[in-house]
Symmetry: C2
Subunit: 498 residues, 2 copies
């Protein structure tokens, strides 16, 4: 058993307990961990660290870098006030709270950028990388588990590495991953992906065995994703998008198998992909960062030819199905480093269709994906910008209202811009779909309000826009009212004027 | 003479006057023209059209697509109200006015995106392309003049083509250009540029001769660029940037020849490049969209090894120098389609250093490059987003104040976002330089205010930030005050509170 999991004979002697390993983490260190949308995150050592801090009352603060969000480890570390600085993404309520209190310095980054910023030297040194693995190869190579994330660049850059061999992960994970790191400049070459299914790297993360200071055996399971089932609204949004795809195919603007699809986490994205199970498209391809349950439903219905991502984010039951069928899926799936799954070069070359969720959109098509009321961080930009900016077709979805109608997600002026008007093609709410391609701002506003706004807010949006027109300008606004809806919500708990 | 300019014998019979050619332009057509930052724009036919409209009172409105800004042709057409829709960039006061009045529908686009949007079919058909040329080859290929811009995609997509052979352009332009169009998907391949100097295409724009319905001989000259000479402030900004480069080289974060430089139009960019003439860097490379005078000063001082762009924007005297020395410069210069000069794939691969100008920047690093007071279009985003988003190092410059201090260019909240906080590394004013890399928003605000704000506004910015902190959040703001500085300027003509 262990021979299979640790094939490099010299490394078998480095097995330590999580409790021993956590002692290598010192105050002020930068720790880089595997993990992407709660999958494949290194759990054992950091949770043991949190326990130590809780028990001893030690004061210890670290910079924590990851692929994307970790599971409960983010929460546990945050409760012990261990995280001083965090990047590039998170989605845990407890951590979010600390970020918004200014207790944790959070650098919200495009997920394809972190590797580059590490290379450039401006994120400092990585003292220790902790990587969850299925196995270690004969040469010390690390086989990841359910995500690749930033692990390859972390292993390359870290001074020392701890590997957490997760004995609960099926050994069949080996061969699923495709590890490729662009060379340092000026020797960088084109990334040779021209098809979603192209394998361009190695199945393992190359690692000098001397760097591996300890191996921890663990049996922690990933925090399962709890996908909210589609409701009437998300269902309707999915239908608008599928109708739109059919329309584009009819007009020769999309081929019959569409284009490689990216879809962000969340229930709408999942509903759109589920909807494709019964839509008249075949041989679909997925080029995304996270595979949710729906991707495997599409495989089961024979609709998808190939899927590439950086991680799985699956429900408990789908995890069981996938883990039991890995050898079958290995021919049809690749997990890549997030630098590659999200790389502008590849996204643009393949002509991806990107579907991501907005918190709010303004009447001119500017999108806020991150900041509630412009100030409070929700999760982070994640990969939405990597895809939205470079996709051939960029779609944003959002329900037209939030909090039972007390908030309109279509507003005069967004309180934060993550995706500018230049990057947004299509916006969808449960009210309708707005095609903004080629339109000037005044034209966009008319379509946005007409198609997307909730009846609670439509008249008031029109009233704003029409008065703004009297002030003139390419993008008319009434500056003193632009943010008044958000202010009203802060004061009264409702954006509506009664 | 004409044999050299029109080498395809069959085409010589298609020579017509500009007055004849303008009759092919009909009401409602989409006309696509060569031209990028006032260089190499097709001038003769459209100016003849304007004259006809002026003389006859004909009502005629067209959609006008170009590479980037045209010279006086934009003004002349606008005066006759011929332009119904314009994209992707402009910079003429008369046209700007019509756009801000809502008379011209202007779609402000990333300059690398227009070709893709044409391929996708969402910008409609091109009825007629009008391309300024140095010559036509034996096979009908079109040799551009001082810019390439979008001409290759226009020629490929247009139903019909008019060529304006400009007899004033030196025949030595031939061989300077490198024309490459990515293939349609799914057959698209990596763009094989790995060095600034790589030639990957043909010297001419391939064109089916049957499409060329007319050839006009012209002698119009490009509208010369009038670069504002460096003043004390721009000089100081250039010095901060050059010191920063030296600092990065000392710390091993940049090599001795830096990295391929992109620099936007404008006096600061020009001053930075000029400053490099006396800086301790050698073998510099330029990968940009526009070459201003300073690039040639750098060539003259032996500092630059190679320069790639999509156009020249030169003063009258520098134009004379360059035109007389083209055969010498041809070994060291390439002019490319703007899709390639600005392509995210190449910009990221080469690790470009991007320097562009902001109108205003907020305390968290969000940049407005386009909208005065959030409503009135200045020029457009141009290529700034193509570069800023994908560069290895993204720098924005702006004077800390405008209009004699009545406007602060560092504000609590920008009125429009073209480049989000995720994409901005360094901001420079004449007051100092702020390095935002790796910082969280609250940290950024402190540095921005401290280093960049003008003394007129520093205390008030600090006062805003400190009170915003009491409201909390990842990115603290006071919503009801966020835009109040702009409102105050609108009401009183001054952002300062007296
Ligand atoms: C934008 C994002 C937060 C939406 O999440 P979601 O779960 O799909 O959407 P929901 O509609 O359930 O909204 C989530 C919460 O935001 C609230 N919300 C939605 N719109 C809001 C608005 N305009 N103002 C304030 N709150 C709003 C909802 O009420 C809900 O609150 P709750 O958690 O208290 O119930 C999420 O998609 C995200 O983090 N995106 C950025 C990262 C990304 O796009 N990655 C893509 C690649 S994976
Ligand atoms: C932003 C941009 C307009 C700055 O232009 P510039 O000529 O370098 O800068 P200036 O400081 O001279 O400012 C231009 C005008 O804007 C005004 N201005 C500057 N900051 C301002 C502000 N914050 N609010 C209002 N007006 C402002 C100046 O007063 C000046 O006005 P004037 O023409 O009436 O004198 C210009 O760089 C641009 O259009 N950028 C977007 C496109 C781009 O970056 N392309 C890059 C690739 S080429």
């Amino acid at each position: 058993m262990l021979e299979q999991r640790i094939r490099h004979t010299g490394l078998r002697s480095r097995i330590v307990s999580a409790e021993e390993a956590q002692q290598w983490v010192k105050d002020g260190m930068t720790i880089a961990v595997s993990g992407f949308t709660k999958s494949g995150d290194a759990k054992a050592v950091l949770q043991a660290l949190a326990k130590r801090v809780e028990q001893t009352g030690d004061k210890l603060r670290i910079n924590l870098y990851s692929g994307a969000s970790l599971g409960e480890t983010d929460t546990i570390l945050c409760e012990q006030q261990i995280i001083a600085r965090r990047l590039p993404y998170q989605s845990e309520p407890r951590l979010r709270k600390s970020i918004n209190l200014g207790e944790v310095q959070y650098t919200d980054q495009h997920l394809s950028h972190t590797a580059e910023l590490l290379r450039s030297g401006c994120l400092g040194d990585i003292d220790l990388a902790i990587i969850e693995a299925t196995a270690i190869t004969e040469t010390g190579g690390i086989i990841p588990t359910s995500s690749v994330g930033n692990s390859p660049i972390f292993v390359e850059r870290a001074k020392r590495v701890i590997v957490e061999i997760n004995l609960n992960t099926p050994i069949e994970f080996e061969g699923l991953h495709d590890i490729y790191l662009p060379k340092d400049r000026p020797n960088r070459l084109p990334i040779p992906i021209t098809k979603v299914s192209d394998r361009i790297g190695t199945p393992d993360i190359p690692c000098n065995p001397d760097k591996i200071i300890g191996i921890v055996l663990s049996r922690h399971t990933d925090t399962p994703s709890n996908i909210v089932p589609a409701d009437r609204d998300t269902q309707r949004m999915a239908e608008y998008i599928l109708d739109f795809f059919e329309h584009e195919v009819r007009h020769g603007r999309l081929p019959h198998n569409l284009a490689p699809l990216q879809s962000g986490v969340g229930s709408v994205s999942n509903a759109v992909l589920s909807g494709l199970c019964n839509a008249p498209f075949e041989n679909l391809e997925i080029y995304t960062e996270v595979m949710q349950d729906a991707v495997f439903e599409l495989f089961q219905s024979g609709k998808v030819a190939f899927a590439s991502a950086s991680s799985f984010t699956l429900s408990k039951s789908m995890t069981e199905h996938v883990n039991a069928s890995l050898s079958k899926y290995r021919e049809k799936i690749i997990l890549r480093p997030q630098e590659i799954s999200n790389h502008p070069e590849v996204v643009r070359r393949l002509g991806v269709i990107a579907i991501n969720t907005a918190l709010e959109v303004d009447i001119y098509g500017n999108v806020n994906s991150t900041h509630v009321s412009g100030t409070h961080m929700m999760n982070g930009i994640g990969g939405s910008g990597d895809f939205a900016r470079n996709a051939a077709l960029t779609i944003f979805v959002t329900k037209s209202i939030a909090k039972d109608g007390r908030i309109s997600s279509i507003v005069p002026f967004v309180t934060h811009v993550d995706h500018s008007e230049h990057d947004v093609d299509i916006v969808v709410t449960e009210q309708g779909i707005a095609d903004l391609r080629g339109l000037a701002p005044r034209e966009r506003a008319t379509v946005m309000i007409e198609k997307l706004a909730h009846p609670f807010y439509k008249d008031e949006l029109l009233y704003y826009f029409n008065r703004a027109l009297t002030y003139g300008g390419h993008t008319p606004h009434i500056l003193e009212e632009a943010l008044s809806w958000h202010k009203r919500f802060a004061d009264t708990g409702d954006m509506r004027q009664f």
